[in-house]
Amino acid sequence: MTTDHAKAAPPDSSGGAAPRHTSEKTDEPTDREVKKLERRSRWYRWDLKYSPYAFISPFFLFFAAFGLFPLIYTGWAAMHQSSLVDPNDMTWLGLDNFTRLWNDEFFWNALRNTFTIGIISTVPQLLMALGLAHVLNYKLRGSMAFRVALLTPYATSIAAATLVFAMLYGRDYGMINWALGLVGIDPVNWEAGTWTSQFAISTIVIWRWTGYNTLIYLAAMQAVPNDLYESASLDGASRWQQFRYVTIPSLRPTIIFTVVVSTIGATQLFGEPLLLAGSPNGGSQSQYQTLGLYLYETGWVNLHLGRAAAIAWAMFLLLIIIGLLYWLLTRLVGKSNGQEA
């Protein structure tokens, strides 16, 4: 980009000034005019050089104000003992908040729950999305209607969806237990059990995000050249084989993208477990308390702002570690296939 501009700028300024210097007949350009021209060309150069920075600066300014500053401030708060009752009154603790997390059974419990809910919601979700996208990729009647329908769960708010699901999973008056009762199964106390509550939460996540991922996969599938499928079918590949050997390899970058995004979403899971029973403790025995929920409970219910900030930073570091792992993994996979990642 910059080299292009450097090439473009000089001829203009010399070209403009040169003829005037050689022509004797016209009035000599006054000092003022020369200065004006110089100034104009200087402005022009600056314009080319710096205005791109001005154009992109709003993002960075907003990022600094609403992304970077809170991040750093949270890190600063994590080094202090600070109460939400009087957040400006801070006592320096160093890394104590972090070492305390290491021995905090509730933190590990929340981490474990986040991990298990993340697995049981992300894996089926992405597999289903892949399958649905494959089906939708065929010529179907009313495929547009299907695509819109798939995106509607994504367009509903977490709160609305969770409240409906919470009613479905109700112990005494929920529709799911009523249906189970029809086939002779005893009512399940969904919210009270560890696995049942985590299963209930993951169904909300799956319901909400499957359509979104389907559309991403579908878009990537439609970018796969048709020749590949044609030659595959000429070679006698079945639809399943086409899916397995043409679609999946072509979709690899997209799959990695959705896995990364879903992992970040799963790590920050908050609204669904908060609203399942409407309390930040994530069940009477914290059986479905996620990291996000533990952060909220520590900061906004128990009022320990410094400790909550430390949890936030632990989550951030966790995501960085996961990101690095994915990066390594994609490099390894890329190398084994003889490609550069």
């Binding site: 939400l84 409407g278 403790n281």
Partner: protein, 427 residues
Amino acid sequence: MFAVGIAATLATGLLAGCGSDDDDGGDGDGDSQVTLRVGVFGQFGFEEAGLYEEYEALNEHVTIEQDSIAENGDYITQLRTRLAQNSGLLDIQAIEVGNIAEMTGDLNGRWVDFNEYEGVDTGHFLPWKLDQATSEDGRVIGLGTDIGPTGICYRTDYFEEAGLPTDRAEVSALFTDWEAYLAVGEEFAANGPADVAYLDSAGGMFNAVVSAYEERYYSADGEINYQETEAVQTAWDLSVQAAEAGLTDKQQQFQDEWNSAFANGAFATVASCPAWMLGYIQEHAGENGLGNWDVAQSPNPSNWGGSFIGVPEAGSNKEEAVKLAAWLTAPEQQAKLFSERGSFPSSSEAHELPAVLEATHEYFQDAPIGEIFTQAAAEIPTTIIGPSDQVIQENITNGLVALEQQGLSPDDAWSSVVSQLDNALAE
């Protein structure tokens, strides 16, 4: 960033100061136009009962605007941050009783002391209500709005089926103490309808018992001592007894299932049933419960809920705000709030007014609620309240839920309460 914020606050403060000076100089006392902003949570009732309109009609220079946040949880979070920055505060702010201890503590300097204003009479409030809003050095930072004296709500139709008396005086006589209440429960379980529990939840039982003690979670000198107090031990044992005898519907209060359980008539009594709960039951039990609910005297009445209003020091119209706060909490207005909204007065003078004394509740078979709750209010102890009361009680209730729903033994449930609380209360 902070510097800018502080500068802005100072600037607005100074400007506001100038403004009011000019006004005072211009028209003499009280005639300049002022807009008072009142911050409340939920359906607080002032606006609904028409009190603002009445005040505006009485004081033509005053305009009142209300800013309401649905949940106290969200409201108090905002109030805390604003108090911490000492900016963005409205002229009058409501304070729920669960948060009053943190306000009378370190933050009491952020609120005006009503003792310093001559027109304010604090003598008509119930003594314990006034105590709750008084700081250690005697500053009164909040004026009581309502209180929640408790009775016991019960279903007359289920009691009849179980062969128990249904008349509220006879039922009150049955409940001589909490053991007697549970003994009636055993009888109910044996003879009553099979799919109806005696009471809603062990947590509700705990709340009913524990609240009637002076010392629950904090000692008089402000130390947390919930593990040793007689209140917690007695309440825990009785709640465990109720749960193990299968008398409870294993609910969690204020959850959707609890609301549905009212509509389905899943339990026969609510052990701690304050005045404001009657409207809640009416709303959720609806048609199905009409003519079936009644309210009896509690063996140990206590206070559940209620609020205060305070005037932040950072406000620009403190003088006018204090006048309004005193008027809103005066006996006549409290009586009106009770007859219109069911918020029971915190003013003992209001209890003498006919509007309160003679009040009945149509949905509760015309129960004389004015008389019942006035009598209960007179027996409420002066409970020591601390800043972490809510957190402590919520975690104990969670222990009881684990006992009821996840089958933990009482010992395991209690040790999980202690470890949760150790984590929650550690600095």
